[in-house]
Amino acid sequence: MSGSPGAGSPKALLRRFGLPGGLILLAFLFPLINGVSGANLMFPVIIVAVYVMLALGLNIVVGFAGLLDLGFVAFYALGAYVVGWFASTHFNEVSFSFLSALPAQTSGRELPGIHVSFWILLIAAGAFAALWGVIIGAPTLRLRGDYLAIVTLGFGEIIPRFFLNGDNILGYNLTNGTIGIKGIDSPGIPFGPRTWQQFGTLDLNPWYYTILVLVLITIFVNIRLRDSRLGRAWMAVREDETAAAAMGVNTTTTKLWAYALGATFGGLAGAFYGTFIKSIFPTSFSFNISVLILCMVILGGMGSIYGVILGAILLQGINFYLLPQTNEWVHAIGDALNSPLLSNADIPKFNYFLFGVLLVAMMLLRPEGIIPNRQRQEELREAEEDDSATELTRA
């Protein structure tokens, strides 16, 4: 940047790292603020953080690499089920424990099921999801935009349905079907206060800091990826695949890396979600969730990391706060005007209507999102400019 003081000087550092640094500090202090102000927002904030991770993961596929993935919820489900399989009493025929935070024996008996430490499972979930990212991505390599989206949609439907029907695969109960897997272990850190040695439901702070660290790692990795050779390759493939291939970019590995990395973050988010919620049901991993995450990416700004974070916070804020609040207001108005229609309205049920309208409106009015990625903005607007240029030459 010309005209500014030297790169390492305090002023430049402040300008570059001031806002993110301030936000990170705020995030670390949040439990304190939450406790002091009595706002009791821990649970929603943790869920929002999970969705921020999911949105950042999808941002790699849709935003960076330009591949419309409509089945992202599959990776979310896979991560959650990895934790469900290896850190619960599900496989109660065996008894295996590895570095788990749970005591190996309760009342003299071995604990049934497989119990592996959550931190190890986190890595396993990420790797497993990445593997499936490659498996799902591989068939789509030759496909164009519409067909690619449909194939990913197909996988996004098949995998959760497989979990739904998995209680009778040739007689073996793999996924417990519609009942889902309950009683998933909580993580633990072998030192520190008791609520940190085994995360519980009373003190949400350890959960919060875990997800915060995960989100920060995700953001850091995303920024480094975006500015790396791989990130540039993604940008090239997104803009013009033929030209990119002509320039020596290996489009196959580039796209597969996008799927794998995006899936990894989806899997990590799923693993955390599984252990946080303690019971997972296949019906909660529906196509609607895929669209919700897509909405966050679109609203915030495809390819823009800050934008996607904002999108996730906004949409979950609508889900958790705005819609229930509007519900109360509408009920109040209904009671005041004595209108049963308004008093009994159930506004939060229509959140997907709002998201649908949002998607259409964003695409018509501001496809690059709230905080746009400059590159994407150029790409999305240039189509319109081409149009007007040809108008001029024709006239």
């Binding site: 949609l153 739904l164 649908g356």
Partner: protein, 364 residues
Amino acid sequence: MATTQEAKPKGAAMIDGVKSSSWQSRLAAAIVAALVVLLLVQAVKDPGQFVSQLLIGITNGAIIALIALGYTLVYGIVELINFAHGDNFMIGSFVGVTVLSGTFLGLGFFAPIDSGSGTGIRIVGVLLALVVAMLACGLINVGIERVAYKPLRNSPRLAVLITAIGMSFILQNVGLVWKGSFQIPFPSLISNGNALAGITDAVAYRWKDLFVVLVTIPLLLGLSYFIRSTRQGKAMRAVAQDKEAAAMMGINVNRTISVAFLLGGILAGASGVMFGLFNGTTVFDLGVRQGLFAFTAAVLGGIGNLAGAVVGGVLIGVIGSMTDQYVGVRWTDIVIFTVLILVLVFRPRGLLGDRSAVQGGGGE
């Protein structure tokens, strides 16, 4: 496809085709042959059940074929997957059930038509439901095109696809607001009885199946006549082939596209009412599943190809009913979605692709 080769005799061309086929197509052919053999074994074991499942499959397939025609018409002309089409089909069934109930917006127009009404009233009711639903869905489709797709005609494909998903959600939620989240029963207007009762006892062919055929075939014939012989039909074929050239020939491209959407909507509406009368129930998220099935059918037959949509529809219907019976109802979805993925990845042009009444390509 213009080639400078001499036209080979068909037999020799086919043999050449088989010889030069890749190992993938041979593997696919072998798997399909094995599955057909398995099915035939079941057919021999219990012919009555096999035939009745086949009939159910064909009837369901006819309903799916009508929806698939909507997808294929639109894709042939504007190369866009109208994601909201399945949900339009659902709205069609909702309109049908509303017409049959006789009340709309709190105003009672006539007494509800249900299984207690006389035959004459039932026929009138069914026809009325069909006509109103066809009109409503046609107009909805045209509306969606005007509002959501037309402004984005020159935008990147990503933008239009996302808009289509948004419209799909909007329609679903209209259904949710209108009729709630539970299954909505359709009045049972067509009997389950055997239409061939007096004639033969070997095969049970229900009035319901006959009804679907009686509605589908005229619609198909009408559509085929429209595309083949009318000026608008010719205009549609022209626009599908080359939009700019068609415009230069004086064809109003915008109106032609709207007509394509209108036709697709009409078919979806008819299909919705038929689905409701045939299956006895409808629900707000019906369109997602049936829409995907129909899209699978359209791609299987060859997107952009009208005959392909019908063939694909019947095939998917039969695959669905066979899977229901011989594998298990809960695996049907997975099987059909797998078919979708396999077709899109290994044979994007489908079975009948590359020949078309309404031309247009998919994939490459």
